[in-house]
Symmetry: C2
Subunit: 299 residues, 2 copies
């Protein structure tokens, strides 16, 4: 089954202890697509400006990503500039230029309106709501957000949350939105706000999943070297949603498997800048690392 992802396509300038990249291809929808493409057809819904390099557009197509709803508008592409220091756990945002993202109105084709797997990557929750209004009713909806929207568009975000099947958040976002410092309490609180499942990503410390049917904790894949964590959460979500879309069934076993695939997809992402590593990964490599990881976590 295909996936429809709404999010950002960005030009990222990232500095880490390993080096620097300027205006490289990034954004939540791009990172999501790079892992989900390994499982199924991915339809990317986003906007770029007139400065967006055609080489990047061709690159996305070459990776099999459907870009018919990736709109190019007059103006500048969304740009993010950030730096990671020390233990690479948190990015320091140096600059954000919204550009054409500021007035973005997503628009999808009739075919895309039938897609039953939707991921709302991190964009303005009002855009997420507008988008959901066009999308397939009854689709399986994954939702991501960020602290900026939690703080500035809480009401809209709570509305999207009610429509989501699974809410994915990092630990800080989960704490901020739930107003609970303890992660188990945070997960329960978020669950009470509407979604059927809550997934809290703890970066190098793994994840915690909460639903009515089961709770699940998973460590991260142990890494010796992290080059650039930008997009790890979106790559995780792509692996998770991709696996589920391909499984065509949602139950405890498949959900746990999907969480493992997401974790492993994210481990590839952090090995190099942007999508430099994930864009070259194939399903065989992903499966092999899932096998290695399964050994590490099997009791």
């Amino acid at each position: 089954m295909s996936i429809l992802v709404l999010g950002t396509v960005a030009l990222d300038t990232v500095k880490t202890p390993s080096g620097i990249r300027e205006k490289m291809l990034g954004g939540s929808a791009v990172h999501f697509s790079m892992s989900s493409r390994l499982f199924t057809e991915v339809n990317l819904v986003a906007v770029v400006g007139s400065d967006f390099p055609l080489t990047y557009m061709r690159f996305l197509k070459r990776k099999g990503i459907v870009v018919t709803s990736l709109i190019r508008e007059e103006g500048l592409t969304f740009k993010w500039e950030g730096e990671y220091r020390g233990d690479l756990n948190a990015a320091l945002t140096l600059n954000t230029e919204l550009g054409v993202l500021a007035t973005f109105k997503p628009c999808i084709s009739e075919g895309q309106k039938k897609i039953k797997n939707i991921f709302l990557a991190n964009v303005d929750p009002d855009i997420q709501l507008y988008f959901l209004g066009q999308a397939c009713p009854g689709a399986f909806v994954g939702l991501d957000s960020m602290n900026f929207w939690i703080k500035n568009k809480r009401t809209s975000l709570l509305k999207v949350l009610k429509k989501a099947d699974i809410f994915v958040a990092n630990d800080q976002e989960a704490r901020d939105l739930s107003e609970e410092a303890n992660l188990l309490k945070a997960a329960k609180k978020l669950y009470s706000l509407g979604p059927r499942m809550v997934l809290i990503k703890k970066g190098e410390h793994g994840l915690f999943f909460y639903s009515k049917d089961f709770v699940f904790a998973l460590p991260a894949y142990p890494m010796e070297k992290v080059t650039d964590p930008t997009g790890a959460g979106d790559t995780f979500a792509g692996g998770f949603m991709g696996y589920l879309a391909q499984a065509r069934k949602i139950n405890t076993t498949y959900l746990k498997k999907a969480l493992i695939y997401g974790t492993v997809a994210a481990s590839f992402n952090v090995e190099d800048f942007g999508v430099e590593r994930t864009s070259g990964v194939n399903l065989r490599q992903l499966n092999q690392r899932v096998k290695d990881f399964t050994k590490i976590i099997s009791i």
Copy 2:
């Protein structure tokens, strides 16, 4: 098979957001014993001063702990005073009084010299070495330490490390002793220093185990409320060593099971001050929570 534990018996004054306790029974050997006693006979080797309450001594005996090598000397019992704020992840040490611990020379009986499971809980590594000189050669040796010794008695600690089968450290201790910020690299480096196994405890983030035969990552037991984390690491070690001693065999399956038992034992410890919770726990309750935890981590 019995266990011999060398460590401290202390009078702890602890303040957490949940309240305060003054001069309660604590210390590394006490916390270790409270969980290991559920599996086997535990012989505690430590020193207390003349101010050590007889009620505490009777309490230890009542819990089945063999205290024949718990020496009472003229002087004051080791005292630790600490506070936890906010997320309870790190203790702020307010005061430490070594008392009789400063001149402690452990001395064990002929029977105890035959015990084949030894845990060197956190004390001066020179005391640990002196103790090992008396203990059963070829015994299975677990080793714990702390930042103070890593900084001030590195050479002695490295000597004990060479004699240990398993070294247990929290993440910060592992980083400090190995001089590697990355935990996987730290585990490998510590492994190269002598022990057959390295176990890095990450508190609420679980643990990472490294050996030649296998690596293993385990999340922590999800807790809604943490009252007092003091002694969680020692309680973990007690559950781990206790399970192994009772299993009478060390292989991948038993080691993983032992790590799970240690994790669950620690989860009881943090639910109340000192040993207030663990001293009341029985094996049935421990097994039940192991069952619950196994569900949460099974893939």
